[in-house]
Structure formats: C-alpha cells, structure tokens
C-alpha cells in the first residue's frame, strides 16, 4: 500500500487552503464584524474559538471510538492509525479549549480556574486523551499497544456520556453556595453577525482539525510502511 498518493496530497493542500481562508474570515468576523456582547464586552469574543474547539475535541474522541471499534473488528492497521492520530490532535484541541476558557475566565470571574461543569468535563477529557496516549506509548509490542489502545478508546467513549451526566448533576442538583454562575451563558440577544462568526470559526476549526489529522495520519502510515519494509526486507 503506497501511503500518500498524489490525490491525497492535493486533498490535504485544499484542506490547508480552506483552513487558512476560514481562519482569516473567522478572525475578521469574530474580531471586527460581530458586535461586542451587551454584558461581557469584548472578552466574549473568545467564545468564537472556545465553542468550536470543544466541539472539535468531542469529534476527535468520536473518531477515536470509531477507529477503535473498526480495528478490533477488522484488524486493519489503518483504523488503529486513525484512532491514534485523532487522539493526538484531540489533545491539542482539548488543551486549547481549556486555555481559551481560562483566558475568558480571568476577566469574567476574576479567577483562572473554577470547577464548574464545563471546565471540569473538558479537563477530564484531556486526562482521558492523555491516558490513552500514555498507555499506547508504554506498551512496547506494537500489536498489543494497538489492541489495548482500541479497548481503552471504546471504554472511554462509552464512559464519557456517564461522566457528563454525573458532573452536570453534581453541579446542578447540589448547588454550591456561590455568587459566580459561569454556567449561565448571558446571550440574551444573539446578533446575526455573532452567529456568522461562530459558524465560520467552527468551519475554520473543522478544516484545521481535518488538515492536522490527515498530516498525522500520513506520518502514521509512513511509519507503518517503514516497518513493513524493514520486516519484509529481511526475508
């Protein structure tokens, strides 16, 4: 299997181009075109990055789930490489989400971090991704690492809805005595330009995610091909 044909190379270039275009558009819409928020002012603009990045992080984990299931079912190395790549890029977007949330939090709440449901869940997602990557790297045998990674990917994906429920219930069924209620999103009147900014940035992040995923996938395929050459070269 020749990894990286001309077609996929062109597709990647198109993705990169689209990502760049939409990032620039998104910056324009987010920073200039969309009006400042009535309550929060300029600092609200970071939501145009924050919301897309968490959605992409969840998408990444979904791809880990799909790749893991396919790998256990069919045993094709490509599915395993897909899952591993999605996890790596997913870590990036999850970390970005947390940083963006923190940057928004400081002027808004006065603190860099608070244990509200959303932030806590994002941090947990990051830990799960990191656990997955650590498991993969600490198991020496490649095949074993792939199988164990796939099992953890499936278990993690099944657990995420349960973690969601439990953390949200924890924060809502049992209200902490606090004046700060960061869960309340103060978006009373959503200006159409704000929606545009959100939508365009979401597309930008999607293209960026798929571009990075395809790059990482390419690296994975190339590594696999190298291994195959080394292996069959000694016959």
């Amino acid at each position: 299997m020749a990894a990286g044909t001309k077609k996929t190379g062109t597709a990647r270039k198109i993705l990169a181009g689209l990502a760049l275009l939409f990032i620039l558009l998104g910056l324009y819409f987010g920073l200039i075109k969309a009006p400042p928020d009535a309550n929060q002012g300029e600092v609200q603009r970071i939501m145009y990055l924050h919301i897309p990045s968490i959605l992409i992080a969840y998408l990444a984990f979904f791809i880990v789930f799909v790749g893991s299931c396919l790998y256990l079912w069919k045993g094709e190395r490509r599915d395993d490489i897909l899952a591993h790549s999605a996890a790596e890029v997913g870590v990036l977007f999850t970390a970005l989400t947390i940083i963006e949330g923190s940057i928004w939090g400081k002027p808004t709440w006065g603190v860099w971090w608070t244990w509200d449901a959303r932030l806590t869940l994002t941090a947990l997602l990051l830990l799960i991704f990191v656990g997955y990557l650590m498991l993969r790297s600490l198991i020496e045998d490649q095949n074993r690492s792939a199988v164990c990674g796939a099992v953890l990917g499936i278990i993690g994906s099944l657990d995420i809805p349960l973690i969601h429920m439990s953390v949200y219930w924890w924060r809502t069924l049992h209200q902490p005595p606090s004046i700060l209620r960061p869960d309340k999103a103060p978006w009373d009147n959503i200006h159409p330009d704000m929606l545009w900014a959100l939508g365009i940035n979401f597309l930008a992040f999607s293209f960026l995610f798929f571009y990075l995923l395809s790059l990482r996938f390419r690296v994975g395929e190339a590594e696999e091909e190298l291994k195959r050459l080394k292996l069959y070269g000694t016959t």
């Binding site: 045998d141 490649q142 291994k227 080394k230 292996l231 000694t234 016959t235």
Partner: protein, 235 residues
C-alpha cells in the same frame, strides 16, 4: 483430527521468528521438532496452541480456524512446558483438581491419587508445588495432561528436566496417545532419544522448515539423512 498450517509467519518487532511455514499433521503423527536454538521451535508450538496469534497465515484444526473467540477449540490441544504452568502455593493434588475441573471434567479425588501414583508423585500429593523439583513439576504436568486427554499434545523440550524413569513415563504416555489417534509434536535437542519412537522428523532453521520427512527404517540411515542439517553438537 487434522491440523493444517498455511503460510504461517510470526514476527516480533522487526525480527521474523517463523517464515511461511506450511505443514499438515494427521492422526497418529508423532513429530520430532528439531533445530538449533532460536530456530523458532517454541514459537511454532505456541502458535499451534493458540498462546500466540500469527502475524500472517492460519492454523486450522479439523477445518476450524484457530483464532480469538473460539476457546472451545483449546479443549483438544495440550501444551507441556517443563518449567511451570502450575500454581506454586497449591499442592500437587490441588493443582490437578483445579485444572481438570476448570476444563469441565468431573473427577474423583481417588482418581487424582491414582494418577499421581502412576507418575511417581504419590508421596508428594499434599506438598506445595513450590517444593517440587523441575523434574517433579514436569511429571505433574504429565499427570495433568493424561487426565485432560488432549488430541494434540505439544511439548517444549521436556527431556532436559526428567530422570530415566520420568523419561520412560513420558514416552509411554506419548506412544499411548499416538496409538489412540492423537498427534504429538515435541521440540527437543535429544535427537537419539526421540528418533526411537517418532514417526516424522521436522527441522526448523532460521524460522523456515528445511527438512520434513516421515520416518523410514532402518532409523540409523534415516538419522544420517538429516544429520547434516543439524548443527554439529545436536546430531
């Protein structure tokens, strides 16, 4: 009972332990598996017993493929490893009782005593397995497999730990097994010993089969015909 091995290969990392092995075993075969250290004998035995899964190729037992999920097929396969596979803190009798019961056979404690007597461990039935010598552990393994009655028995160099009586015991058991239509594959360096009763000789070298012939009389000339394939010290 037929065992068919097609294009079997196993790689550990970048090293091939077995390359494109094709074999067929049929009822009554008593196979001597010979070859220098590192030839792949243990790997082949472990693949045949489904303790390992192949990198490529397949093994079929009576037409059914050996793979994950059909652990019922393990009921007909036995693997005698001379250096262990028993629980150190259980007595000889308890070890037998446990493994036999786990495999679904109902057994009378008196029958256990009988079998232990037959292998010469009658006085040691209530001793912890940790107190047994290597040779005694091997005899215990023989007792276990004689109770479980596998159709295919794989042995990995048992002659090293057994004394004269033990060796006779083992050989009588193996001959009995083959007479009843079972298949025996024994990896060993003790060429002279096994040639006295085997029906076929297989030589592995560098992961490949370089000799595979049924035994012919007189066995001295048979021995000479493949002595050249073996390293000087193993002839």
């Amino acid at each position: 009972m037929g065992v068919v091995v097609r294009q079997l290969a196993k790689a550990y990392g970048y090293l091939w332990a077995l390359k494109e092995v094709n074999l067929e075993f049929s009822d009554g075969d008593c196979v001597a598996l010979l070859g220098p250290n590192g030839a792949g004998k243990t790997t082949l035995l472990k693949l045949l017993s489904a303790l390992l899964y192949p990198t490529t190729g397949e093994i079929k037992i009576d037409g059914e493929r050996l793979r994950r999920g059909n652990s019922d097929l393990r009921a007909v396969i036995g693997f005698l490893s001379p250096d262990g596979q028993i629980y150190e803190t259980l007595t000889a009798k308890e070890n037998l009782h446990f493994f036999v019961s786990l495999c679904g056979k109902k057994i009378d404690p008196r029958e256990l005593d009988q079998v232990l007597d037959q292998v010469g461990l009658g006085d040691w039935s209530d001793t912890y397995a940790s107190s047994l010598s290597h040779g005694m552990k091997c005899r215990l393994a023989i007792a276990k497999w004689s109770l479980l009655q596998p159709k295919i028995l794989l042995l990995d160099e048992p002659y090293g730990v057994l004394d004269g009586t033990g060796i006779n015991l083992l050989e009588n058991y193996l001959k009995g097994l083959c007479e009843k239509g079972g298949i025996v594959v024994m990896a060993t360096h003790n060429v002279a010993r096994i040639l006295s009763f085997c029906t076929r000789a297989l030589i592995l070298q560098g992961g490949k089969i370089i000799f595979d012939e049924p035994r012919q009389e007189p066995w001295e000339s048979f021995h000479r015909s493949f002595a050249a394939f073996l390293p000087r010290d193993n002839r």
